[in-house]
């Protein structure tokens, strides 16, 4: 206390020994007041971005994750049936009371205005789990008003699936507001008759392979961009500004060309009758029957994406290399290191933040890329995002698309966490 007094000769103490300012307000309180203003200003500056992110980023991602487990279709369409099914043991067809409840549910649904009917979505939902279930619903529901008891018979006559135990198991399993079914499917698994999660038939497994391939392709693309980007970034960093800017334009050119122009250019170059193959034949390296397949396969994806993503590697590398004075290499050499040792021990470690930033950028972007693989990747160059896009746009199975997307998101976060443990995110340098 004595020290504090000496240090704050201008401050006074109140009766309880608290520091007070000249007007008698406790010091801590006035400090807090002064700070509060500053915090409000800071908050005001960040709020627009926060709101923006909330609306266009956090909210859609939350929506996506919600969709991957949201399962309202069966619950909405078949409340009475589900109630009646509660007593069913899953063995043998359910009894008449369940079919009666189903008829009653369908009748209720038919009385709703068309666009509020639940049977359409119900059919679509059931069909994800069991082929032909949509047909069973669609072809039965309009006839239900004419059904007479016993209903079981009427349903069995209407469509064979009503007599299939698996359909009832699906209805019972999916008769809950939340489901794991999309994740089960996204991991190439399915429910067996006892409700256990098992691997799918071998000829229906897709996604695990696609995830692995996506990872492999992304790693390959990342490594390629490093190998190609490093020398050019180094060269630009030692050139005078004037020339390095010119080179930079060439590196950035892919950014400024429309996707269609680029795709056309790749086709002209890479196809079997394309410039590369023709040149190789003209030079005599390959013969006419030995043409390389450079597109509509994995190579197409790798080549095209490496091209597109190269700037994301070159820019951080360049910005890091610019800040490394040539004297480090000179110092290393003067200390007796061969040029290679000097590069490996002195230069390379200093570019690691750039390599790390570039690699994370390229890797994460390529994991989510789908337009280019769709155009030049053929089948073996397809990535998981193509499958997600297909489910979003064509098969319209948004639940599965959401589950696939969520798994991808989690995968990326895990990889980022691993990266952070290994390299340290603070070592990222984006420019």
């Amino acid at each position: 206390m004595a020290q504090a007094d000496a240090g704050n000769a201008d401050l006074m103490q109140d009766a309880s020994g608290q520091m007070v300012t000249a007007d008698g307000v406790p010091l801590k309180q006035s400090l807090k007041r002064a700070e509060r203003r500053r915090k409000l200003v800071a908050l005001g500056l960040v709020t627009p971005l926060l709101l923006f992110l909330l609306v266009v980023f956090i909210f859609p991602i939350g929506q996506m994750m919600w969709r991957s487990v949201d399962n309202p279709q069966v619950v909405n369409a078949l409340p009475l049936t589900l109630e009646a099914l509660e007593g069913w043991d899953g063995q043998g067809l359910p009894g008449e009371e369940v079919y009666a409840a189903l008829a009653s549910d369908f009748r209720t649904d038919m009385e709703r205005p068309r666009r509020d009917q639940f049977s359409g979505p119900l059919g679509v939902r059931l069909n994800y789990e069991l082929s032909a279930a949509r047909g069973a619903v669609a072809r039965t529901v309009r006839n239900v008003p004419d059904f007479e008891p016993p209903y079981k018979e009427a349903f069995l006559d209407s469509h064979r699936l009503w007599g299939d135990v698996s359909l009832w198991r699906v209805i019972q399993r999916e008769g809950r507001p939340l489901t794991s079914a999309y994740y089960v499917a996204a991991l190439d698994r399915q429910f067996d008759d006892d409700g256990n999660i098992v691997l799918r038939d071998e000829n229906r497994r897709i996604y695990i392979n696609l995830y692995i391939r996506t990872l492999g392709l992304s790693v390959a693309i990342t490594v390629l961009t490093i190998l190609l980007g490093f020398p050019i970034a180094y060269y630009m960093s030692i050139l005078p500004m004037r020339y390095s800017n010119l080179l930079m334009i060439f590196v950035l050119l892919p950014f400024w060309t429309s996707l269609l122009v680029r795709t056309t250019a790749w086709i002209v170059l890479l196809q079997q009758q394309g410039v590369i193959n023709e040149s190789l034949i003209a030079v005599g390296i390959i013969d006419d029957s030995g043409r390389f397949s450079l597109m509509y396969n994995m190579w197409g994806t790798i080549i095209a994406m490496t091209h597109i993503l190269l700037p994301f590697m070159v820019l951080p590398l360049y910005s890091v290399m610019r800040t490394i004075p040539p004297s480090y290499m000179r110092a290393a050499k003067s200390l007796g290191a061969t040029p290679f040792t000097a590069f490996r021990k002195v230069y390379l470690p200093q570019t690691l933040p750039g390599i790390g930033a570039g690699a994370v950028l390229v890797f994460i972007i390529s994991i989510g890329y789908y337009i280019t693989p769709a155009l030049v990747g053929g089948q073996s160059g397809r990535m998981i995002s193509n499958e997600i896009a297909r489910h979003m746009q064509q098969s319209l199975n948004w639940g599965l698309a959401a589950a696939l997307g969520t798994i991808l998101l989690i995968g990326v976060l895990v990889l980022y966490w691993v990266y952070n443990r290994l390299v340290g995110a603070q070592n990222l340098k984006l420019g």
Partner: protein
């Protein structure tokens, strides 16, 4: 300007219009969604332009969104902001949209023109083509086409079997990257009669059989996604034969002069047509337009610009020459008896039921 003056002015304009022999109508602009490219052009010339000429108050805006029409309809309906007035889509998607109530049910006889001889619309449209919410315009087919330059003159392919015969017809083939059409052809080439194909395909054994047939040419396949890719791959010499839409191949061969030939054997026939979004903002105007655009003459007119067959029986005799090329379009129609000798009619019910499962299996097969 006061309300009074405004109403006087409006009354004056209306009176002037009436004296001019027409009745004033609010200007209306219709957003019509279709497939883009040559197909939209054929609709513009056969339907939109004559309609706008006769109805100056109507403006038609083209939107090339049909490839993702169902997703678009759902999104607009959920957002409560339906900006599309009329959508060109496939019957399978139309059925889904219809079940979901996001497009309007159609009373075909009430809303559509009868044939010139008085046959009601429901009887004039080709059997099985009308849907609950769907008005067909054309019959298109997916066919196998080849580049005549790439085969010797005495060994040109002439049937679907050629697609699976890499020994006699070597070279890469372009197939669409989905199970539909490919599985049908695999069974057809394996000896299944067109009318039995879907029954066989509904059984696990039939599916295995189809995939086994596809396996025989797997390493010779290049897959395409967009309709425009098939003629492009053929033209570039990347493939020797390709499956594709007959209109696209016709365009490339006749308009661009590419050396393409169509194999009508086993052509897979499907409809394409209109649906009306349930909460469109100009439903009355759209219905007027539809009455005009789906009449016998208009459907026949469309065939002047693209080689798809009109969906009305009464239009067939009216099909004439191509508007620009002057060639007789009848021989390029999928429905021409000379071409319609072994058609496979696409079964939408089958694909609705088995599509999810077979798509997964097909994707898996492509990955292997």
């Amino acid at each position: 300007m006061s309300m009074k003056k405004l109403s006087i002015l409006a009354g004056g304009v209306a009176a002037a219009a009436i004296t001019a022999g027409a009745y004033a109508q609010e200007p209306v602009s219709l957003t019509i969604v279709s497939w883009g490219g040559a197909y939209t052009q054929s609709q513009v010339r056969a339907y939109h332009e004559p309609y706008m000429e006769a109805n100056p108050h109507v403006t038609i805006i083209n939107d090339d969104g049909s490839a993702n029409a169902l997703a678009g309809l759902r999104a607009q309906s959920q957002a409560g902001n339906v900006t599309w007035d009329l959508v060109d889509m496939l019957p399978s998607d139309a059925q889904l949209a219809c079940d979901e109530g996001i497009i309007l049910p159609i009373d075909h006889d009430e809303m559509l023109a009868a044939a010139p001889d008085g046959t009601p619309a429901s009887e004039d449209f080709l059997p099985g083509s009308l849907g609950e919410c769907f008005i067909p315009q054309i019959v298109y087919s997916t066919i196998l086409a080849y580049n005549t330059d790439l085969f010797p003159e005495d060994a040109q392919p002439d049937s679907i079997e050629a697609l699976f015969d890499v020994e006699n017809y070597p070279g890469r083939r372009a197939l669409q990257d989905r199970p539909g059409t490919n599985l049908e052809w695999a069974l057809y080439a394996d000896g299944v009669a067109p009318e039995d194909i879907y029954d066989v395909l509904a059984t696990p054994e039939g599916q295995d059989r189809a995939f086994a047939k596809l396996d025989t040419i797997k390493e010779h396949i290049v897959f395409w996604t967009e309709g425009a890719q098939a003629p492009q791959l053929l033209a570039d010499g990347e493939v020797v034969m390709a499956t594709g839409y007959n209109g696209r191949i016709f365009d490339a061969a006749q308009v661009e002069g590419q050396p393409f030939e169509i194999i009508w054997d086993g052509q897979i026939v499907e409809w394409d047509g209109w649906v009306v979004p349930a909460d469109g903002q100009n439903i009355d105007a759209v219905m007027e337009y539809l009455y005009f655009a789906t009449d016998t003459q208009r459907l026949a007119d469309q065939a002047k610009f693209i080689s798809y067959g009109p969906a009305r029986a009464s239009s067939a005799p009216l099909v004439g020459e191509h508007a620009d090329l002057g060639i007789d379009m009848n021989e390029h129609m999928p429905t021409n008896p000379d071409n319609y000798f072994s058609p496979i009619v696409l079964d939408n019910d089958f694909w609705t039921d088995y599509g999810d499962e077979l798509r997964e299996r097909f994707a898996n097969w492509m990955l292997q």
